[in-house]
Symmetry: C2
Subunit: 195 residues, 2 copies
Amino acid sequence: MKKEKFDYTNATVRLWLLAKQTGDLLKMCTERLFSEYDITTENYDVLVTVKYLGDRVNIVEIASWLRRSPNSISMLVDRMVKAGLVRRIRDKRDRRVVYVSITGKGEHILELANPGCWEVIKAILSPLSYEERRTFLSLFDAINRQALQYLNPGEDIQEMMKKRENLHAELMKRLPPYAWMTASEPEHKGGKKKL
Amino acid sequence: MKKEKFDYTNATVRLWLLAKQTGDLLKMCTERLFSEYDITTENYDVLVTVKYLGDRVNIVEIASWLRRSPNSISMLVDRMVKAGLVRRIRDKRDRRVVYVSITGKGEHILELANPGCWEVIKAILSPLSYEERRTFLSLFDAINRQALQYLNPGEDIQEMMKKRENLHAELMKRLPPYAWMTASEPEHKGGKKKL
């Protein structure tokens, strides 16, 4: 076995494992914070989606945004309805359509948890400069594109990613202002140390 | 709000979401393949860990390697014992210690699923050159280090990551040879297209 080939396979396997597992590690980081407010990271993600992605989002839209199955989101929303965090609202014009909206309690918890969550995000990403963040993003985009192509053969992936980009822009417009106010200054490139 | 600051926060939020959600997307890609063998991606990950990480791994080691809680791995292993994929073995010298080992059925399924899984990994990572894979890895390493520091204040993170690296080397030694034989040649840099 050639050394080069070994290095290549080694890097490939490590990359796959890290790409697959880093999300779980990041979820653990916020879990501790959210448990103070009696919610899970999953609950928080649904609250953020319902509150900032649009006024009227349904189960399928929440599932698609969070990269989860509609079935698992539906069960999650059921539990969140019981906990008083969100409610299901039937559309007046089309009774078959059901939207999910945030309750006063959900909104209150979101307001309490948001600043801490933003602090965690900043702390975990702090070693990365703005340029490194951009590189990281384009690498993620490349494998996300491939994964979407694999999962949706024959579909217009460009269009799919464009749609998601628009949703992200929508979310950014609605995010509360402390996110901007407390962000590290781009002048410093956000990098505390180099890789 | 300054444009630069917006771009910076925008990139940060997108990066956090992608880092958190890409793993779920990758799991969806292998889920379809594994369902042909009546196993989930979780089952496959445990089979790989039990078979290739070492001869005698316990629940805590499996959980740590897969970045999961020992409790959730314990329940998963219970279900896999019922499905005949793994067995629990009590240590002869210390009856309190329980190891998990793979059964003949588990091994057979692993052999069937491995080549297809490797094809998925190659396909999803195909747009990335060797250099890009290395960059991706070092970016992942940087945020993993931060996350581990956040989750384990006061502990020696360098040592923790070194230990994981050794486990990875162990896994690479035991991986079946088709992984090497079918890997893209490093001569081609593995890149079908540039970012």
